[in-house]
């Protein structure tokens, strides 16, 4: 079950690819109350059921990942980090990336398989993978 700590507007796609928006929901922990507004779209296949999947990782996770990256790469406080920032753009080489992954494993108590560690190239990707692995564990 997804929980969102604060959101003014979330957009995502249902599993059948319909764009959906959640507006201004005050969400309490563990409970997601949503009112759905279907955005205007053609070809509305009403016969199909749709499962909602929220794909964006929590802001909190992204923040923790950023902190670990900052520490590992000894970045100056002025260095701007966005979720889309690539580790390579920050000067991380393969050893740095492996150390970052190790830092993330320790922080979140997860195990990242080698195949997945190659797919972690940005802060967002790391956060997304972490949430996936944490969810799988629980």
């Amino acid at each position: 079950m997804a929980s969102v700590s604060s959101a003014t507007c979330l957009s995502f796609r249902t599993s059948i690819g319909l764009p959906v928006r959640i507006h201004n929901q005050k969400i309490s922990k563990g409970l997601v109350v949503v009112s759905l507004g279907w955005t205007k779209t053609r070809n509305f296949p009403s016969s199909r059921t749709s499962r909602l999947q929220i794909c964006a990782a929590k802001a909190e996770t992204v923040e923790k990942v950023s902190e670990i990256v900052r520490k590992q790469l000894a970045l100056s406080p002025e260095t701007q980090l966005t979720p889309q920032t690539k580790f390579s753009e920050l000067g991380a080489d393969s050893l740095d990336t492996v150390e970052i992954v190790m830092g993330l494993e320790e922080e979140f108590n997860i195990n990242v398989e080698e195949e997945n560690s190659e797919n972690i190239t940005t802060i967002q990707e790391a956060a997304d993978l972490i949430e996936k692995l944490v969810e799988k564990k629980n």
């Binding site: 520490k71 590992q72 260095t79 920050l90 000067g91 393969s94 190790m102 080698e114 195949e115 190659e118």
Partner: protein, 311 residues
């Protein structure tokens, strides 16, 4: 030294590169640059000029001047290095095209016609913020990795090794009591493992570090150090692969060097026609320190290149 200007000079004369013969089979060429020694803005502009638009974009996206510079120099080094071999008169640093193989390993995309076949040139680059290197071979896969000798490891060396290295390698590191020595042996081992994976060309996940051991053949406790009065065989580095014990890990040979007194460099190349029983044929290595378009210095046999193991 004679200078050749090998780009056809119709619009403007391009800066020149001293040409070099392709390495022979079983020979490896290593070219390196130190970003701190490249200060000329106009030279940096010339380097930027030979990059493809895509490479230029990637360079400019790097965060910070130092990172941009080493990214720029890495691309400039690989382009100028390959162009030096004067494969044919059409090739210039700017005209070279690159692509990635199915596993993501960069290779040259030769533009060739029916009556011209390119040589089997292989290259691999590695860079840190303080050194950029490019290795070249003919007919052999190659992987290289360079790391600063005094690089700090944020994690405890043994925790790191237990997580990523093989059991044998963990034992080797655990047996070292001096933490400084342990850290340096760890870095040497890391560069060797990286070089192997890069030579295989399958990417980090294609050959997970835990699935193979790299060790010193005859005197394992001595680790990767120059043994006084040792024969070639005594300091040979070998790899054992667990996933594929029959896959010819005897097909790979390693060199470990100390470059410019500041970096460890590991070079892994394919051996051909080798089998376990064969006498080890030494690899010939030639090393140049370069500032492309400005100066080249062959540093083999000088203090800038200290062999640790494998030669």
């Amino acid at each position: 030294m004679k200078l050749h200007c090998f780009q056809r000079a119709f619009f403007h004369s391009s800066p020149s590169l001293i040409p070099v013969q392709l390495p022979a089979p079983m020979e490896t060429h290593l070219w390196y640059m130190k970003p701190s020694e490249v200060k000329s803005e106009s030279l940096l502009k010339e380097y930027l000029d030979i990059l493809s638009p895509c490479e230029r974009k990637n360079v400019l996206q790097m965060g910070g001047e130092e990172l941009r510079k080493s990214a720029l120099l890495a691309r400039a080094l690989v382009r100028t290095t390959i162009a030096r071999y004067q494969i044919n008169s059409e090739i210039t640093p700017r005209s070279l095209k690159f692509r990635k193989n199915i596993h993501g390993k960069p290779e040259v995309e030769w533009q060739y016609s029916d009556d011209w076949h390119p040589p089997s040139l292989h290259f691999n680059i590695s860079h840190t913020s303080s050194l950029v290197a490019c290795g070249v071979t003919v007919n052999s896969q190659i992987g290289i990795d360079v790391e600063e000798k005094h690089r700090s490891i944020k994690h405890n060396v043994l925790s790191f090794a237990r997580r990523y290295f093989s059991e044998h390698e963990v034992q080797f590191l655990a047996a070292i009591s001096d933490p400084q020595v342990q850290r340096m042996e760890f870095i040497k081992l890391w560069t060797l493992k990286e070089a192997y994976v890069k030579a295989l060309g399958k990417g980090f996940s294609g050959a997970p570090f835990k699935t193979f051991t790299i060790r010193s053949k005859s005197v394992p406790e001595e680790g990767f150090n120059k043994l006084e009065g040792s024969s070639l065989k005594a300091s040979e580095i070998v790899v054992d692969s667990f996933d594929n014990p029959t896959v010819l890990t005897s097909n790979w040979q390693f060199l470990l060097l100390e470059l410019a007194n500041s970096h460890y460099a590991a070079i892994c190349t394919e051996k051909h026609g080798a089998s376990e029983g064969d006498r080890n044929v030494p690899v010939k290595l030639t090393v140049w320190k370069t500032i492309p378009f400005l100066e080249d210095e062959c540093v083999s046999g000088t203090d800038a290149v200290k062999t640790i193991c494998g030669l």
